[in-house]
């Protein structure tokens, strides 16, 4: 496990290639580790018929809504929480 709760991270801005669960709207955006969920099989390799090993750490990452949407018109403190696998996270 590389990251701890409270750390700031950036979601890798990689383009789409094959099956993955990181939504486009998060790519390149910065957030904060809220929680370490634990280790799970990797859906990106399971999607191609493997056992999904080695296990990947999954994190709950929190984003400020105004950071995600340029014209966000609601409360500036609204946050969005998303599960993201470790290999999509970069230290900031």
């Amino acid at each position: 496990m590389t990251f701890r709760a409270g750390q700031l991270v950036r979601i890798a801005a990689r383009k789409h290639e094959g099956h993955h669960r990181t939504p486009d709207y998060l790519k390149g955006k910065s957030g904060k580790i809220e929680r370490v969920h634990g280790s799970f099989t990797n859906p990106e390799t399971r999607a191609y018929g493997t056992d999904g090993l080695p296990l990947e750490t999954l994190y709950l990452v929190g984003f400020d809504q105004p950071d995600l949407w340029p014209r966000y018109a609601s409360k500036a403190k609204d946050r969005l929480l998303v599960d993201v696998y470790e290999h999509w996270l970069e230290a900031t």
Partner: protein
């Protein structure tokens, strides 16, 4: 792997299913519909394939995401499941290419 799968696996800006945050003025259809028999059957088949280790949920998703964008847009929820398991089972050699279509023609 099928040609369709290779198309999907190439690097692209954004895949057709990755809709979150995409600007649209189209209204969201929230109407419910009574499930048809074939839709219930589709759900059961995917459950059995999963339980027997033939198609896992990540493969199912990948199969759906590999649909050509225009076909994906037109397809209903369970039509996408059908497309996906046909793609995955053909990849694994459980179904031969065109097997389902040829059975439907007889």
């Amino acid at each position: 792997m099928s040609t369709v799968g290779r198309l999907y696996d190439r690097v692209m800006e954004r895949a057709v299913h990755d809709l979150g945050g995409r600007p649209t003025t189209a209204p969201i259809d929230r109407t419910e519909h009574e499930l048809a028999d074939w839709e219930l059957l589709m759900d059961a088949i995917v459950g059995v394939l999963g339980k027997n280790g033939l198609v896992n949920v990540d493969e199912l998703r990948r199969g759906i995401e590999s649909m050509q964008p225009d076909v994906y847009e037109r397809a209903s929820y369970y039509e996408r499941w059908l497309y996906a398991i046909e793609t995955i089972l053909a990849e694994k050699g459980v179904l031969s290419p065109g097997e389902l279509d040829s059975r439907l023609d007889t």
